[in-house]
């Protein structure tokens, strides 16, 4: 799989990712610093000396150009500075810790998205224009018409209230995050709420591309050879039908990151999304800039992964 050309390609892309990270964080950095307001200036500080001392501590008294040079140097060394609200909290380790939590929930969401989406899409395509198809297609429009916080509240009502009443209090779901890694229900339920709207989009795409592939000659050949429907659908048709689906994995990762801001807030999950919502409301700009940098890297890595996935699914594609 990894020829010399492929490795070279991956190397180039990794270099590009570093540039992207610097570019995105620079845009956010300059944008944020051009605009008024900050966590420091918004608080009432009657003592001008203390104010000056604080500005000096964060190097905010330097000219913008010098601040920027310091900032880019930091980014290149993997150092995103300190939180403006909680002094002496280093941002890079904080975000790395939170990224792991988000990865657990986001990973569950992606598994749901692809699992449910591909399943619904294939069923709808194989049984085109039957009630299965209509049900799957309608479900998918309903799915992406429901904001994830609506799905989250329904899940709360189902698992938190209905299940509690039904089992007489023996079984119920309590949101939150316990321990370092969270429990299974603390990962799966938010993961479902996060992934379901995108599952609908994957289902639509899978259905469309399955319908196209299923009519091709090699599928008919496979059937003529006497292979069972299941083998033809899964081994022959689905593999090629998945190529357009893989394309939306990049936007999917962006969608999951965006959705996690709401979902982690609702479910009380200490991940990147909750951090974003908290620090943006507290105007902790250093963390906001750091988060955007982080997100840019995650998205770029996801896109690289998608491009490599193409070669796995379709061996004709090479780099």
């Amino acid at each position: 799989m990894f020829t010399r050309g492929a490795l070279l390609y991956i190397g180039q892309r990794l270099v590009l990712i570093v540039f992207t990270a610097v570019a995105v964080s620079s845009i956010v950095f300059l944008g944020v610093h051009r605009l008024p307001g900050s966590a420091l200036l918004n608080e009432r500080r009657p003592d001008p000396a203390a104010q000056r001392e604080l500005l000096h501590f964060y190097h905010l008294d330097l000219p913008l150009s010098q601040q920027y040079v310091r900032f880019v140097e930091g980014v290149l060394h993997g150092d995103l500075g300190e939180s403006l609200v909680n002094r002496s909290v280093q941002i890079t380790p904080l975000l790395l810790r939170e990224a792991r939590v988000s990865l657990e929930v986001g990973g569950a969401a992606i598994v749901f998205t692809i699992g449910i989406g591909v399943l619904l899409g294939v069923l709808a395509a194989v049984r085109q224009n039957t009630w299965v198809d209509y049900l799957a297609t309608t479900t998918s429009v309903i799915g992406y018409s429901m904001p994830n916080f609506v799905i989250a509240s329904l899940l709360f009502l189902l698992f938190g209230v209905a299940l509690y009443n039904w089992t007489g209090g023996a079984l119920y779901y309590n949101s939150g995050w316990t321990g370092d890694y969270g429990t299974l229900d603390q990962i799966i339920i938010p993961g479902f709420a996060l992934g379901f709207p995108y599952a609908s989009i994957v289902a639509r795409l899978t259905r469309a591309s399955m319908l196209e592939v299923i009519r091709q000659d090699y599928v008919r050949t496979a059937r003529a050879k006497g292979l069972t429907n299941r083998v033809v659908t899964i081994r022959h048709a689905l593999r090629n039908a998945l190529i357009p689906v893989v394309t939306i994995l990049g936007p999917l990762v962006i969608g999951i990151i965006t959705g996690s801001v709401v979902i982690e807030n609702i479910f009380g999950i200490p991940g990147l999304g909750k951090e974003f919502a908290t620090s943006i409301l507290q105007r902790d700009y250093n963390i906001v800039i750091g988060l955007f940098t982080f997100y840019a890297i995650i998205i770029a890595l996801a896109n690289l992964l998608v491009d490599l996935l193409y070669t796995v699914i379709d061996p004709r594609i090479r780099y």
């Binding site: 916080f149 509240s153 209230v161 709401v262």
Partner: protein, 299 residues
């Protein structure tokens, strides 16, 4: 008329009926057959009427607190119950429809103007202009759009106008990319060549020949953009960055009730259902319009 063998009567009727129909009459005929899209259009018309009505009359004042027991469920006087401040939820839902529609439609007006102009420029002139515009669009695709909108609202302030601007700022490139693609394809067509050889200037070719032919996809894209914008506004206000209270917004209403979802779910469910139905209606209508305006794309 005797049915021809192998051809359904419907097909024959259609062929005979189609003597002189414009694109729009044709599209309308197709749209009318799509029951889901039609039902959605009726629902949205009602919603717009409710939003207009709310400007002049709501059952109760949307900001009067304590008009009944707080957290009270639905009763005869208050069909959707009361919220955590004892405000009438039905009145707030009605007014919330205004905010959602203003955001949805306002955003798309900006998106259409900016997206169409940028897309036409990039597609028609190609070369350097196209390279620059495509580069900017690609940058926008690489960053999480909602988070950019959030940051913009935070930095510029929480007013309806700024929310509309911030959402449009993260959405214009979808329209621009679509119009660019359409223009690239249309500018190579024979009728454009004919117009050019007839001595038509660039302006005339763009606005009389290319734009009208791209209008169908533009309308579909705008219809699909409306629910996206409404969804964004709901997210913003759910996170506490929407229009300032007490102006009711569906997202903020759902957020307000969330802490009490176990004891009085109606506070969350009412705006959640209103929001979902509205988004669904726009999505079904968008799908219907796509099938009607561009039957080749039908999936």
């Amino acid at each position: 008329m005797a049915a021809l063998p192998g051809i359904a009567q419907e097909v024959i009727d259609e062929t005979l009926a189609r003597e002189q129909t414009s694109l729009w009459a044709d599209a309308w005929r197709r749209l009318r057959r799509n029951r889901l899209a039609l039902a959605s259009a009726v629902f949205l018309t009602l919603l717009i009427l409710v939003a207009i009505l709310a400007q002049f009359w709501t059952p109760y004042s949307y900001f009067a607190q304590g008009i009944g027991p707080i957290y009270q469920g639905p009763t005869a006087q208050h069909p959707l119950g009361l919220d955590n401040f004892g405000r009438d939820i039905l009145s707030r839902i009605m007014l919330g429809a205004q905010i959602s529609l203003k955001v949805g439609i306002g955003t798309q007006v900006i998106v259409i103007v900016v997206g169409v102009v940028v897309g036409l420029l990039a597609g028609f002139y190609r070369g350097f202009v196209d390279v620059v515009i495509s580069f900017v669009i690609n940058i926008f695709y690489g960053i999480p759009d909602l988070l950019v909108a959030l940051t913009l609202v935070l930095l510029l302030g929480r007013s309806l106008g700024i929310i509309i601007f911030a959402i449009a700022f993260t959405q214009w490139m979808n329209m621009a990319r679509l119009v660019r693609g359409q223009t690239l394809a249309l500018r190579e067509r024979e009728f454009v060549e004919a117009a050019r050889s007839g001595g038509a200037k660039a302006n005339r070719i763009i606005f009389r020949h290319i734009l009208p032919n791209a209008l169908g996809p533009i309308i579909v894209q705008a219809t699909i953009g409306v629910p996206m914008a409404i969804l964004f506004e709901a997210f913003l206000s759910f996170l506490g960055l929407g229009v300032p209270p007490p102006t009711p917004s569906w997202g903020a209403m759902a957020a307000d009730g969330f802490h009490a979802i176990r004891i009085s779910p109606h506070i969350v469910l009412a705006p959640a259902i209103a929001l979902s139905l509205t988004l669904m209606a726009f999505n079904f209508l968008g799908d219907g319009l796509r099938d009607a305006l561009d039957p080749r794309q039908k999936r």
